[in-house]
């Protein structure tokens, strides 16, 4: 029982990070129909900038804030320099642009930072909390709490504010959004900046547990994308559920079957789900009348 709980919490913790990456995918996809494969690099930037600023003597909260700001700037630059000029390009070209940006960012990080693994101290110590016999790292609560807070914040913005409605309107019908006066370019820039901030926070929260390095973004983007697909691309609820499920699958796969095959196990389940439900768990089929 305590073993099960142990796997469950570590699965949720990793899953929360996948969920945040998947949310970043969803937000950008909503606003611009771009699948941004540089999403994982925002997570890397969050962790790496915090690590290096902290090592340079900046207090941890300030270092984290700095990292989020750097990620937002990089996200906006990505939009203005690479995505906006390619307006009207096909989805495939845009995806290739984001893959190129991801390789560029990884290369730059390798030069600006280094190729080592880095760790941050846990925010509230390393003494495990005993929960029904399972030893839980306090940092897990930070990850889960932080992720929950971000999800709620994003939900509030999307459902309750005019700006959020403008994002959804842009996703639903770009032409009509422009005709009612939505500045679609601003909406897209906001989506890139917002998804960069979400990714950076995820990177900061998880670094004390999983370590970070210049190239952690690749696998995270892949996992986050898989989570978004599992949940149904474009559905925020799906992104969260997909991310948590993926994390749990990995943790249980590693714990009960084999840690060597934990990625394979997770992806096999995702493949199986997508064979049965190609639109994902929460993917909506478009309801439109002509």
């Amino acid at each position: 029982m305590s073993e099960l709980l142990q796997f469950f919490v570590s699965g949720l913790t990793v899953g929360a990070v996948y969920a945040l990456v998947a949310l970043g995918f969803t937000l950008v996809y909503h606003a611009s129909e771009v699948v941004n494969f540089a999403q994982g690099e925002f997570v890397m930037l969050g962790g790496m900038v915090t690590v290096f600023a902290y090592a340079a003597g900046v207090p941890l909260p300030l270092a984290a804030l700095l990292a989020v700001l750097v990620a937002i700037v990089v996200g906006l630059l990505l939009y203005w320099l690479a995505i906006a000029p390619a307006r009207g390009a096909t989805a495939v070209s845009l995806i290739i642009i984001t893959i190129g940006a991801s390789i560029l960012l990884r290369g730059a990080a390798q030069i600006v930072f280094d190729k080592q693994f880095h760790k941050l101290p846990a925010f509230s110590g390393d003494t495990p909390v005993d929960l029904f016999g399972a030893a839980i790292q306090p940092q897990s609560f930070w990850v889960l709490g932080g992720a929950a807070l971000l999800v709620l914040l994003l939900y509030y913005v999307m459902e309750r504010t005019l700006l959020g409605k403008a994002v959804m309107a842009t996703a639903a019908n770009r032409l009509a959004a422009r005709l009612v006066g939505v500045n679609v370019a601003t909406i897209m820039a906001l989506a890139f900046g917002g998804s960069a901030a979400i990714g950076a926070v995820a990177g900061i929260l998880i670094t004390p547990i999983t370590l970070t390095s210049y190239d952690v973004g690749t696998l995270l983007a892949l996992k986050g994308f898989a989570a978004a697909m599992l949940g149904g691309m474009g559905s925020p609820l799906g992104a969260v559920v997909g991310g948590l499920l993926l994390g749990l699958l990995e943790a249980f796969g590693a714990g009960y079957i084999s840690s060597t095959y934990k990625d394979a196990i997770a992806f096999i389940v995702i493949l199986a789900v997508l064979f049965v439900a190609p639109q994902g768990l929460f993917g909506r089929r478009a309801v439109e009348r002509v």
Partner: protein
């Protein structure tokens, strides 16, 4: 109010608008009629700034607008109910109307929304439902309502009667007449030429990207060439 001079534009290398000249004065209802592919929708989209133009000028309220992005044209008081309704399907009827007033910062938005509901009561019954589930006629009402929420000085209406039953066409055209009495200037694009000229002051006939006839609506209605080509009788 609106003046278009020698407007050219199209899609890539295909020129759809080949030098359009057109004028709309304040308080008028002007009908733009023409067959499929003549360039009516392209012209309206160019006016709203969602379709690039290659040459020509547009003036709105005495100001050049051809280089303004679409949202600034909305802010200046020109809104459009586009062809094919183009409502925000997953969003509620309420939200669709609210987004019509996206750029407005005044306190009259709620009252204006109620006014739209008074005009189209069927929308009020469905105000919390996703707009994608409305019937074609209801979506058309919603598209017009959404354009009105922007408090336009000039309303561009693209094919408001397309695909609607005759009863609904009458209802929509009655709404247009009511708008005109409320002082809104309207540029109305229609394939249903007879109905459009019926409620318009003046009309333009567009053919393969050029204006070929222009004049008071009653003259166009009795013009033998217009009659045979667009009114379906001679």
């Amino acid at each position: 109010m609106l003046e278009v001079v020698d407007l050219h534009g199209g899609y890539g290398r295909i020129e759809v608008l080949k030098g359009i000249n057109l004028k709309v004065s304040a308080g008028e209802v002007v009908a733009l009629i023409g067959s499929n592919g003549a360039g009516k929708t392209t012209l309206l989209r160019a006016l709203s700034g969602v379709q690039p133009i290659s040459a020509g000028q547009m003036q709105f309220m005495g100001e050049r607008i051809d280089r303004l992005p679409s949202h600034q044209r909305v802010a200046r008081g020109m809104t459009q109910s586009p062809e094919g309704r183009q409502i925000f399907g997953p969003l509620s009827v309420d939200d669709n109307l609210r987004l019509g007033a996206y750029l407005r910062r005044d306190d009259g938005i709620e009252a204006d929304r109620e006014r739209i509901y008074a005009m189209f009561p069927v929308l009020k019954d469905k105000r919390h439902q996703p707009a994608g589930g409305l019937s074609g006629g209801q979506q058309q009402m919603l598209a017009i309502g959404r354009a009105l929420m922007g408090k336009p000085k000039l309303l561009l209406l693209d094919e408001p009667s397309l695909g609607l039953s005759p009863i609904l066409v009458d209802q929509i055209l009655a709404a247009v007449t009511a708008l005109r009495q409320a002082g809104i200037t309207i540029l109305l694009v229609e394939q249903n030429a007879a109905a459009a000229l019926e409620i318009a002051d003046r009309g333009y006939v567009i053919e393969t990207g050029r204006i070929v006839h222009a004049g008071p609506a009653s003259d166009l209605l009795s013009d033998p060439k217009v009659k045979s080509a667009y009114l379906g009788f001679d």
